[in-house]
Amino acid sequence: MTENIDRETYSAARVRALESLLIEKGIITGETVDKVIEFFEKDMGPFNGAKIVAKAWVDPAFKQRLLEDTPSAIAEMNFPRGMAGAEGEHMKAVENTPAVHNLIVCTMCSCYPWPVLGLPPYWFKDPTFRARAIREPRKVLQEFGLEIPESTQVAVWDTSAQIRWFVLPERPAGTEGWTEEQLAAIVTPEAMQGAAKVKVPA
């Protein structure tokens, strides 16, 4: 494994060499790089969608607005600028209930609303997954460990440039009296795709 350790040390040094030279030449500043990373860690990601879901769970009026006019409900959230406009514009929330379970797929994954839902996993773009999700969604969900009862309808939504879907999952039992923050912490990207249910951590 020495070769790997060497490669590791070398890569770390190489990146530092690049960055320090570019900074000395005034091409970038350390803060420029920090800001880019911060954008992905703090501004855009599944934590935004989780906040929307948590708010909808505790505030029935907000939930109704979210389902009727998703973009304007998202605009109320005070997210970093650019998001509501660019990606929120054509967003449409669909609610999971005992009567219907929603699953999102994407043909054009460049339209996937990742600033809200998070970056999609690799399998999401896989044409086989997409085709099967449309043809036999129950079976695909079963493979994810989700048993959908026969009495529940399964609806599959294809995200496109026109409409970017996102799932409002069901609030799990045992979360009565939780704050929005506590609730947001248990909402996963998979739950907002409809590939999982929200679970209360044991």
């Binding site: 770390a12 990146v15 091409i27 790089v33 994407c106 994954c109 460049s110 998070g118 970056l119």
Partner: protein, 117 residues
């Protein structure tokens, strides 16, 4: 419609073979230098030093070079090694720095590293 450059850059890679590793909807950096290399590549393009598409093509090429000489499931596969290679090539190509100074600085940093061990 205003899209931040960072958003445009990440979106362009979604669903392609050059998409970065992620976990639970967020970017996955396993070592600190990966995040720096990621941020630098985007920052340089954002500042107009090269086109983002040129970086992507360089990344796809560096991934293809690995795949041409390794098995698909080679455990030594390392996405950010390929990213770093694409980044330094494009930085040199764009005349942001020269090869000699990059080699020298790397050697200096490695020497410091050895001394401190």
């Amino acid at each position: 419609m205003q899209v931040k450059f960072e958003q445009f850059a990440a979106t362009s890679m979604l669903g392609s073979e050059d998409a970065p590793p992620r976990s639970n909807g967020e970017l996955l950096f396993q070592r600190p230098w990966e995040g720096r290399a990621f941020g630098m590549a985007i920052a340089l393009s954002k500042k107009g030093h090269y086109e983002w598409e040129d970086f992507r093509q360089g990344l796809i090429a560096s991934i293809a070079e690995w795949e041409a000489t390794h098995c698909k499931d080679d455990p030594d596969w390392d996405y950010y090694q390929r990213w770093l290679l694409a980044l330094e090539r494009l930085a040199l190509e764009s005349n942001l720095l020269n090869p000699a100074e990059l080699e020298q600085r790397t050697a200096e940093l490695l020497a410091q590293e050895n001394q401190s061990v």
